[in-house]
Symmetry: C2
Amino acid sequence: MADTWTITELANEQGVTARAIRFYEDQGLISPLRDGRNRVYANRDRVRLKLILRGKRIGLSLAEIRDIINLYDTPEGEQRQTELLRKLIRERRAQLMAQQQDIAVMLHELDNLEARL
Amino acid sequence: MADTWTITELANEQGVTARAIRFYEDQGLISPLRDGRNRVYANRDRVRLKLILRGKRIGLSLAEIRDIINLYDTPEGEQRQTELLRKLIRERRAQLMAQQQDIAVMLHELDNLEARL
DNA sequence: TATCTACTTTACGTTAACGTCAAGTAGATC
DNA sequence: GATCTACTTGACGTTAACGTAAAGTAGATA
């Protein structure tokens, strides 16, 4: 298993276009190293991309995903920030759980629908 | 409890703009009756709007929501269509369950994050 | 009867998230 | 050394989902 990827390798693997990945970089969501002009993606970039795509699949905007990434990237032990971070995490968790609920309701309705057939 | 609503009443209640509701109508997602030129929303329209907004909250596009609505609106007992319907329902259910999974992973990551604080 | 309020339609504007050329470069291959 | 391949950086185009006037109407109220 390689430990670095080119942009097209990563794009193919993750099922997105290279253009999309470059766009995420423009938006400050991912920052690969360079080999000359060319982008080189390490595993942490790959993990980051997966996080982005997971966020997209559940309907988060890139701005919201950036907020979540910022939670991850905040230096540890910054006491002044900790309380704020906890709050943001709680809010995000509440939103995700509400989404779970919405999906549960929809699944239930699909069950009813199928039962009617 | 009233059994009909004006567009602004419904908009305020559901936390969206009247413009958005009219847009959903343009897209064929909802079809209220009229009192002269004015739209009159009955309870089934209200339920329909809730379905639309629930879909939006979990990141579905209006086109996808329309597909789901079409599942609901298909006349019962159309034997020829039944098998296709079952298939569409199964696919949609699979997608929703995948989304549940994505959300579960994110919730887990938030837990880890909070634990680090 | 004039004004106010809540609706209507029409139409152009806006933002997010890329798609789609165009033009250039750098390394490998014929 | 020319051609091929995989990258690069602009820059303009596109679609979805509304926002935002503009201009008109119909019923209630001063």
